[in-house]
Symmetry: C2
């Protein structure tokens, strides 16, 4: 592999564009249907041919390899599925490593949890930096009526484990209520997540 | 060690404050006298009792340990020593790892070089993200009349090697010229830096 050289990108704090980017991604409802609590609402939308874009993003040109620090912008659109806000799939890292988030525009909530049942949340707003330590699964939720835009950076050998979150869910969900948001304990996935003797 | 929990800090993009911070640092001219080309100017200032603060910074509460991502804000004051702009000491990482810089306010220049003599520079302005790949020493220079403020993140086990930069210098220096800046080849340190058979 050619040794990477320094480079510069420009971030647009309003739109989330990262220029130039090398890869972009898009997650639609159908890419993460299992993530939402209200499966009737999911099925209703998809069967009606509606498959909204939940979030998009742009990756800087950084190798996913040890000692590198990939970074990306993400834009979560405003919206709800049932009453649950649009959100990312959420993930653990395959190797327990940290990740840093910086709010660029909009207003969101990060929900984080460990494999042994600890949970935390943090509001992600412009100029806030949220530190996700090693071992904390994390999901980001747009709790406002405008796009939520943020920057994230993580070690290049972190790896993304989406499967365990799909299987076990997060212990808390973020619903719209009275013009704001409410954190609710999750239903079935929570029981499995907290399963014990 | 207690397992670290997620936390949030607020960044002030104008002043560079990071709240709450756990450590702050301050580098005066006397802390980095050897870094400047014009040693007569350095001696003149210090012997006159002038020891300006070149830069300050604030560290988030992140362990300097593997799998963590420490981050900090840095504020480089405007000014020159002789005609050479205020700048950071500059460093290699002890383990060759990457670092990310994000411009918050002001206008600067990052100069970067490898141990085998490659050199690059990148202007650091608000909303610019500069990627320093593993193996690239880096120094940041304030080329404007206002404070240069930026955010930096790096792997917790990177380590900072300031000594080799002190000994060998950077191959290029940044001087004020005609209201802007000029990159000049360094004098003696450059010869040592590029020493070969």
């Amino acid at each position: 592999m050619r040794a990477p050289r320094p480079f510069r990108v420009m971030l647009d704090f309003d739109t989330g564009s990262l220029t130039p980017y090398t890869d972009s991604f898009e997650r639609r409802l159908s890419d993460m249907a299992v993530a939402y609590e209200d499966q009737d609402a999911v099925a209703g939308l998809l069967s009606a041919g509606q498959d909204p874009v939940i979030y998009t993003g742009y990756d800087a040109d950084v190798p996913h390899a040890a000692d590198h620090l990939p970074f990306r912008t993400t834009i979560i659109n405003p919206g709800v599925i049932g009453s649950e806000f649009f959100m990312t799939k959420g993930h653990h890292h395959r190797r327990d490593t940290a990740e840093i988030y910086v709010g660029m525009s909009g207003s969101g909530l990060m929900i984080m949890q460990t494999r042994d049942g600890h949970a935390r949340s943090a509001e992600l707003v412009p100029s806030a930096a949220v530190y996700v330590p090693p071992g904390w699964a994390h999901r980001t939720v747009n709790v406002a009526d405008t796009p939520l835009v943020f920057l994230a950076a993580y070690p290049g050998d972190a790896g993304h484990d989406y499967e365990s979150v799909e299987r076990l869910g997060f212990s808390r969900r973020v619903h719209r209520r009275d013009g704001g948001y409410e954190l609710r304990p999750a239903a079935a996935p929570d029981r499995e997540f907290r399963a014990g003797p």
